[in-house]
Amino acid sequence: MRWLAIVRNTLRSLFRRRRAEAELEDEFRYHLEREIESNLRAGMPPREARLAALRLIGPIAFHQEACRDWRGTAYLETCARDVRYALHMLRRTPLFTAAAILTLALGIGANTTVFTFVDNILLRPLPVRDPQQLAFLNWGAGVNLSYPNYADLRDRNRAFSSLIAYRFVPLSLSIRARENYRVWGYEASGDYFETLGIKPLLGRGFGPEDDKPGGNPVLVVSHRFWRNHFAADPNAVGRQVKINGYPFTVIGVAPPGFAGTELIVDADFWVPMNMEPRIEPGSNWLHSRYASNIWAMGRLKPDVSRARAEADLNRISQELAAEYPDVLDRKVRFRLSPPGLIGQALRGPITGFGVVLMGIGGLVLLLACVNLAGMLTARAADRRHEIGIRLALGASKARLLRQLMTESLLLAAMGGLVGFAIAFGACRLFSSWRLNIDIPIETALQPDAFVLGFTAAAALSTTLFFGLMPAIQAIRTDLIPSLRNAPANRFHRWGVRDLIVTGQIALSVILVICSVLAVRSLQHALTLNLGFEPGNAVSASFDLQLQGYDEKRSRTFDAALVAKASALPGIQAAGIINNFPLRIGEDNLVVSRTDRPMPPPSERHRATTYKISPGYLRAAGTKLLRGRDIGSHDREGAPAVALVNQALADLLFGKEDPLGKHFRMTLNAADAGMEIVGVVETGKYESLGEDPKPVVFLPVGQTGTEETTLVVRTTLPAQQTAELLRKTILDLDPELTLYSVGGLKDQLALPLFPARAAAILLGVFGFLAMVLAATGLFALMAYAVARRTREIGIRIALGARPGLVLSSVLKRTLVLCAVGVSLGALATLAAGRLLSAVLYGVSPRDPVTYATAILLMSLVALLACWSPAARAIRIDPARTLREE
């Protein structure tokens, strides 16, 4: 009840201010009149009566003000006044205001963009039921399990209420005749939907009964696929489609917003894992304990901790290692990690990337704040006169501080708004970016309310950073000199402003070094020895097996295709590889020497295997170091041969000559293996940052291939050749679904993505930093010269030479710059290790980078000082002295 009254009173005085004012006036007038009347009645003369009444009541205006204070709206009213005044002050200096808002907006925008990335990828949980209960199973250094091991873990564990398995694969989906799509999605265990708590939008998800051995030919399609290819047909459930030529029934449509259990890829379908023979014809990993190709995730029982679950998994893995000693290494341990980023495989690097970006974004914002603090300090010095007058008139310091901070807060709010708009635009730009790659990488960045909150927090905290110190400085003004309008003599001492400049230079040196490092790293990545020559090479990929080809037919097809492609105009070489390096989906097999006994599981080496045709090495531009290339005589029936890369030769044979030696790729000790006939250069196979990896190239003539990538080396432009290849392949079989058609250079977009993203982002940040440092320095110098105009004028009048004037103006700034540059460089050296997360082949302490950055910053500093310094020399003593 009482609170109701308080609220009512507050509202009334807020919205009926005029009436409250009138009432206040009336109340006091009534009091005075009654008092006067009473005095008159007591016999006083009218004038005396009035004076006595006034004396008794005291200072009316003061009491009325005290009454207003109790309305509960005084605070709001003062705020409104402060805001009005601040707006007025900001409008009076539009250039300063625009510069300040822009500075802040760039800093806040950059941070909001980076934070959106971090929020979307690292902080936002999977869109499933109770995602915090889910844990991804990391196995040793990797993430892949075999299906039989998964099945044992699922059946024997005590820590999980359920354990699901899934695998991301492409397939050829045909909705009607001649309408084939190559789409990516999950083969998932039967309890996938139940465990995740995903309720399909239409129909149902498949269950364990669909995933029994043999499996049911059913699939769930994504919301996006349903919209794009079924025209959002409400009767899509029950439709028959063909997967790799086999009939499947659509039983459900996933809800919007659920694109699978990994955040960075968009799945378009889910099929029961036991349908594997139909989805991946020719492979039968469902029954192979050697395979390692599925990912697993479990829902922890409510009272089970991660550590206990890990112990439970490791207990089972010990059991399994004892049961299958020749397959499993008993030393390998399970580790759990949050779901969504393929366990530790991506979470680690992406976290590193995010930390670096947030750190550098924070530096940019700090720099923007420092810059703004510098501007505000200079501005406060210009307003010393005004502030002095107000202090002299009795304004309290707290009140002045509040007003100055209101101004800063307004700047920050506007900067935050513009910054959010910038971030929104940047995210839109990034989301609309489509990589020319086969795998549907998710690039959508969506700033949400959480991000907006971050922006608001950033804007608010910047206010404290840049506004508080100058404001405190401003109100500490000495009254007398400021009223006399005398120049403050404090400028000659080392002050806050010098600190600001040094900080500014140091911060921008850090940022510039980072951006030069990132650019050099990209440069390095672009010129890295990839083990093939992407320039002038064009490729096209397709999958014959998905189209129902058997091994014999596909071999004939491939041979015919290579022959036809070689005859195309401009083609210098043509060849086939099953899966081009630096795309995902390598096969890793255990390799061992045939002249030694089979090593135990913990000492086995795995090598990536590629299948190539004659001519591939020349077409891809892979250098043959020793021995011979694969020839057309390396076919079925001929002795088994292989090419290996230098890394594998070193690994298996050390200093021995590998040519003519044999090695096997099975765990069968009786296997005679294959002969090494050639050694090729070591390239990059999974990522640009990897260490040398052992690789085997087998002749397609002896193994056959499933997927096919045709590679040609051409003298014609890539676009033209790509069209020629497309036509040639479709002439041979118009039903084929082609993917990744184009120049190899374009297809490097995915592996180059981290380096490019780092270079672009850090480049932008570095550039921002330089601009901020330059404007900050310029403003400071211009201000210093302007304030010393009279002094310099006198000096010149007294005969100071330009050199002397110049040195008196520049000396201190240059010293500050030197200190700032050294501090920045030292700080970067100290923090260099963090940066290695985003660098390729460039040391974070690269001396060339440091030299470049320092030179660049010195140049910027000189340029920024140039025009104010030149103005100082040109000061006309006669004129300046007359002006005073």
Partner: protein, 109 residues
Amino acid sequence: MGKPTDLVQGTLDLLILKTISLEPMNGWAIAKRIVQVSGSVLQVQQGSLYPALHRLEHQGWIKAEWSDSQNHRRAKFYSLTAAGHKRLQSELDNWHRLSNAIGLVIEAV
């Protein structure tokens, strides 16, 4: 600009609440009544009465109404709210406790 922090801050509240607990009164009459009842011992500074009234009103202990005074001029009349009555009671209890205690101390010698 400061809020009323007179010595009588606490007691002024009590005096006001007690005074208007009998009938609604305007500010001038409250001042007069306090002086008169206290036998001119308590001289309320009339001006500082109003901030106290506004504060009590804002806090919901008392409410104000405009109505005609004796000589047909409109004046602002204050009266206790329900919460104000309770408040008065607890203030009175406090006061009695305090004055008894002080009485005990100074009588004890």
